[in-house]
Amino acid sequence: MIEKALKGSSKYWAWMAFLAMLVGIGAISYYHQFYYGLGYTGMSRDVSWGLYISQFTFMVGVAAGGVMLVLPYYIHDYKAFSRITILGEFLAIAAVSMCLMFIIVDLGQPMRLLNVLLHPTPHSMLFWDMIVLNGYLFLNLLVGWTLVHAQYKSPHRPVPPPKWIKPFIYISIPWAVSIHTVTAFLYAGLPGRDFWLTAIMAPRFLASAFAAGPALIVIMALIIKRVSKFDAGQEAIQKMVTIIGYATLVNFFFIGMEFFTAFYSNIPGHKATLDYLFWGLEGAHSLVPWMRASMLLGAIGVIMLLTPKTRYNEKTLGLACALIFLSLWIDKGLGLVLGGFVPSPTEYITQYYPTMGELAITIGVWAAGFMIVTVLYKMAIRVRLDFEN
């Protein structure tokens, strides 16, 4: 089946070559980091997690977001999603792969990675995150591959998915919720970090995931429609837009609740990080433009999704989804993780700036993720189009 991804236009190969180049630059940078240590990055004693872990956190959300296609189709028999659930499942494979890569490049001693299995420690949330992420990767590989492969084997008549796969599909739905809940628990269970110590962390993670994941799928579906004959269909796209709109609004509502609790209670520890993120704290304000941009882009995106004129025009729809994706990426892929370290437990304010090498590694992992999703989508769409013709 993989041979379907080995035939493509020159544009396809140019895109893959471009991604391979970024992966290569990232790999060379990682080689340097591997032999020098994490001092290669901009992280420090006070900001001990940087871009790698913040990207990891964001990508868990993108992976979980695919369930917004799987659930309506398999639980509510929502037929319009029948052709595109595979986009959610294959996106999850690429996103979880990126998560694992981000974890590995963040480890100080990556060669000892298997210690997590050799010395299983159930009281550590990282242990559970390892289980749910790898489990989710396995489920999506199994389900996605089985569904596409069934079609591949029978290109002339429709085949229902094999019966044995159904339980795995149903398990994958709560499992998607679990990956983002456990990832939120990495932060929400730490006693000394007021910004993260909030029961709304997991719900907020899920809301942003259910907006960011489908937003990316809509963007990719619109691109696929331009570069191939595969059309996700107006109804499916518009249903996803509704989901994205609500999820984004819920996400902003949750952020508003964080503001209320912090500023009405007036407890300095709870206000400090929000101050740092949105107004600056004692002269430190490296993330302020980003966070304000995040709010603005998110607001514009939601308004565009709610306005029929921009919602039903593919170009403006794509733009709106891109704005929302960018907004959520800044909110969770930068502010949430990096902000939590400011101020430090000893009340120092240390700002974090990633180094060039760190950026190269981060971009390399993103490019690797795009390569995976391109190959998988190419394969799935080729099989689908062969059948439909």
């Binding site: 240590g37 420090s44 480890l107």
Partner: protein, 144 residues
């Protein structure tokens, strides 16, 4: 590096995915196996006291005199104050306490032994712990 509070219920131990950091069964000291640590730095996020540090690069070129009694140091792992566990094993007291000499600025001993010097000091002096509200029950008391 900050003094570790050697919590009775340490959040760093809870966070560690490999048990590289653990509470000693013998004396309750929060210990660290530098050679099991994978360098994920979850403990650094978990510690409410900023007591943990990470070797962002190889520390060996910076060591002027090698101490063969201390586990060999390396990059990519978290380090912490262990109350000089390797000295305690030989019946000595932690280096920082020894450095204060007879000033009694620092007192070290067994909190569970009511007759120990530290227990006497806690009885007779006003002391505070850092962030007691977090329920970590630090074993470090600051004499006021």
């Amino acid at each position: 590096m900050t003094l570790c509070n050697h919590c009775d219920d340490p959040p760093c131990v809870r966070a560690c995915p490999t048990k590289a950091t653990f509470k000693s069964m013998d004396n309750g000291i929060v210990m660290m196996d530098y050679h099991r640590c994978i360098g994920c730095r979850f403990c650094m996020a978990a510690c409410p006291y900023g007591a943990r540090s990470f070797n962002w690069r190889n520390p060996r070129p910076f060591i002027k005199k090698i101490n063969p009694d201390f586990p060999t140091r390396m990059r990519g792992v978290v380090e912490k104050c262990t109350f000089c566990a390797e000295r305690l094993a030989e019946g000595k007291i932690p280096a920082c306490v020894e450095a204060t000499g007879d000033t009694k600025a620092m007192v070290f001993g067994d909190l569970n032994d009511p007759h120990s010097e530290i227990s006497q000091v806690l009885e007779s002096t006003f002391t505070i712990q850092r962030k007691p509200r977090l329920g970590t029950r630090p074993s470090i008391f600051y004499i006021i």
